[in-house]
Symmetry: C2
Subunit: 504 residues, 2 copies
């Protein structure tokens, strides 16, 4: 391993091992790390820290940290620290199975907040001080500026606010990623905020590198390891049908003059269904598309390569190994078409509203009135978190939620009388899509929404049961604006807990 990625001589002197760096983190610290959707997270220090925590625990002593990131990371970070019982508090988003189990066992405190709120709430002082930042970069320039790697997330905020900084320089990241980023340094605390001068999704309004006070850098660690990557799953039939319904709807909106011929900037959640939508767009005949989103996954790279997507703005990646190879091989092509921003910008209400983003997100369940649960299984168990879905749902042009109509082989209906947890309210949700069809809730009062959702989106195997609930609610409910039978409203979820199926 060479040190050619570390051009600042002052910082070469601070190169240490991951173990030496981890030793600089003390019990009880608030530690802010890089990482967004498994890209650009530190690869070595968290593992060394987990080992150190285990050693301390073996001596019968306590050692936990409060952990902040951009979003989800990987087994080497969330997984290792959760297994070591090293996390007292985690925010703002995570997807690790070990951490999830601890959260749902009541052993790990998790704060699930809008990704657009994280940086400002930390700046506001709502989360106390940040003791240590651990940030992966792809290089350090001679002037000390940091070249970000495959995610930006909250790194600007962590570097600005942390008392001490540990940098990982990952040589696995392509050197030619330099120039892809756009770090906006025009933010401020109210009452000193000004308009953000971004008008198009591909506007550059900042600089390509991250600033950091070199005196705060206490350690530099060299790494050479890949981002987390998930194998590409072939598109299943449900996802293909969902994508088809949504794209048909978008083309209908273009035909009606409610959307431009090249749509509006797309936001796409992560997963197989959004990937299917992106694949469907490739064959849709639509051209000149753009994206203003959080994460670029395989389907979006394909769209960029084919030219259907002209450019994309993001804050991180979630690629399969094949897509990652393609990305690294053609990094200069993608560098001209992808702009990576802080998540404060990628999810900013001002920008999402101005650009008129089309939000496309998955969900756990939706109720007949259009309230969406994105986070809690059976009302109490966290799945992942709200992530950025609320930022785009509330402030965008259109909010769409996509899911198969059933889960667990039919024992769970994604359409329920009342959701067991609300992340997106009836006031915010426009479009629901399942493999059965699409419900367009725009401009509809509650009972008309219920008809659309049941008729168009519910699985036939649950439709009678939903109609039965809705009909009796319309007859017997305390109020008839949003008819509900409260003793039954959550009974489907309890039935699943008790019997393993929501079926009556």
């Amino acid at each position: 391993m060479s040190v050619e990625r570390i051009l600042d001589a002052r910082l070469r002197d601070r190169i240490v091992s991951a173990e030496q760096a981890a030793a600089l983190i003390q019990p009880g610290e608030t530690v802010a790390m890089s990482g967004f959707t498994g890209s650009g997270y530190p690869k070595a220090v968290p593992m060394a820290l987990a080992k150190r925590i285990e050693d301390v625990h073996a001596q019968g002593l306590p050692f936990q940290i409060k952990l902040m990131t951009g979003a989800s990371t990987a087994p080497e970070l969330d997984g290792a620290l959760a297994k070591a019982d090293g996390i007292a508090m985690r925010m703002p988003f995570q997807t690790d199975p070990d951490a999830r189990k601890r959260i749902n066992d009541g052993k790990l405190d998790y704060i699930d907040i809008h990704l657009s709120h994280v940086a400002q709430h930390v700046w506001f002082g709502f989360y106390g001080e940040i003791d240590t930042a651990v940030v992966e970069v792809s290089a350090i320039r001679a002037d000390g500026a940091l070249v970000p790697s495959t995610s930006v997330g909250n790194n600007k905020t962590w570097l600005d606010l942390a008392k001490k900084v540990i940098i990982e320089v990952n040589e696995w990241q392509p050197a030619d990623i330099e120039g892809m980023h756009d770090i906006y340094y025009g933010t401020a605390l109210p009452p000193h905020r000004k308009p953000i001068p971004l008008i198009h999704a591909n506007d550059r309004i900042g600089q390509t590198t991250l600033d950091v006070d070199p005196d705060k850098i206490v350690a530099v660690v060299r790494t050479n390891g890949p981002d987390r990557n998930s194998p590409f799953k072939p598109i299943d039939e449900d996802s293909r049908l969902i994508a088809g319904h949504l794209i048909e709807f978008l083309k209908h909106e273009v035909a009606k003059g409610r959307l431009p011929h090249n749509l509006l900037p797309l936001q796409s959640g992560v997963g197989n269904i959004p990937n299917a939508v992106l694949a469907g767009l490739a064959d849709s005949g639509l051209r000149g598309l753009s994206a203003f989103t959080e994460v670029i996954q395989d389907g979006m790279l394909d769209l960029l390569k084919s030219g259907v997507l002209e450019y994309a703005s993001c804050t991180g990646f979630a690629l399969s190994p094949e897509a990652n190879e393609e990305f690294k091989r053609n990094i200069r092509f993608y560098r001209d078409r992808i702009i990576m921003r802080t998540q404060e910008m990628s999810n900013h209400p001002e920008l999402v509203r101005r650009l008129g983003c089309i939000g496309m997100n998955g969900m756990i369940e939706v109720d007949i009135y259009g309230n969406v649960n994105s986070t809690h299984v059976m009302g109490s168990r966290i799945m992942n978190g709200i992530g950025g879905s609320g930022d785009f749902t509330r402030n965008g042009f259109l909010s769409t939620f996509l899911s198969p109509s059933m889960a667990k082989g039919g024992s769970i209906s994604a359409i329920v009388p009342m959701v067991s947890h609300v992340d997106h309210t009836e006031h915010d949700v426009s479009i629901i899509v399942t493999e059965q069809g699409l419900a367009d809730l725009r401009g509809l009062p509650p009972r008309a929404r219920a008809r659309q959702v049941i008729d168009n989106c519910a699985h036939p195997g649950y439709r009678d049961q939903l109609n039965d609930y809705f009909d009796r609610a319309c007859r017997d409910s305390y109020g008839k604006h949003t008819p509900h039978l409260l003793p039954e409203a959550l009974s489907w979820h309890q039935r699943y807990i008790d019997t393993g199926s929501m079926k009556a």
Copy 2:
């Protein structure tokens, strides 16, 4: 009555009676009227229209309209048209008892949406075409420009989009209100939107009058009638206590350096508790305050007069008769300190986020995890609507929700295990205040939130019952992240429906 308020000679020729104007509205039309919180609504045409609808109904023929406004109006508008069974669909907000009864009887379709979304969703085409606009103004200038009256609401959008326009010129409104308004004409549909050039709550970014194509004006009606006004209620003990807790908290935040000495622009919902907060601010020692809000009520006028509040931005008024006299008497003083905007601006996510507004809103109930219900009594009966509370809660600096801990003489607890309807999610709610105390939910995971809400805000008469639920949920819940017992979660509401009390 003179015609000196109608200086455009072309339009003087179109002066007709309210009955003649109402005759121009046809069954099935979408009619967009002025009015926000009982200010600036048309005083004569809606009454004449209601009479006409009743006459048509008496002949056994159908006659209903779809009705849009800024927000709530008055008995002469919502009340008269609801009593006449003349409304097929109502949006986006209303508070009339007759209309509410029809909505909750399932006889009137009501669409309850964020006030910041109304104008853009109509522009997007989500609500179809507007046939007729009926807009109250205080005067028509010689060049045809319209001088708004005591609310702006969505009037710009209605005048721009309606196929035909009826203007009411209300001579009761003070002539010297001219100059108080700031109508921004820089809006556009995406992808053509640009930053809104407003940096301070008192910036002027538009013009003082509303434009309208004179060829669309089909009738001008002269009126001389007061806005709706509610007598000022003396501040009760609960409201005084709630205000005290909130102001103590705000001063604590100033002391901690998390808020400037003159706070940040205040948003204040309408009602006795917000009025108590405003009255409390007068005696707080805080100075140099500002407001960026929807509605100015008595307390804010007092704060302006005493100089504690330097300026206020709003889109409408809700004043007692005495405060209205004061406003009219000293209109030139207030014109220098109040800026009236379209509600698209007063509630705009871009501006609310940039300014860092402090939202202060009432609620129906909150659950132990911080989810707030602002709209539905017992989950199915609409009270009023979400109004602008969501705009400030999601995008502001701090969101606070204020309510007595009990209602209906103690038979209803405002703190419940699970809210029966969610308007503001756990991700958005920062501060809960009742007469018992204040819960600061910032940076807390769900179970810690429950402890704060129960210990600090619940009435002692319900605290044991809440602790019992929470303790058993922590023990027996399916997941322990957000512990819930689903068969019981909504049982308090059903008990109230069945027995008249939530008490176990």
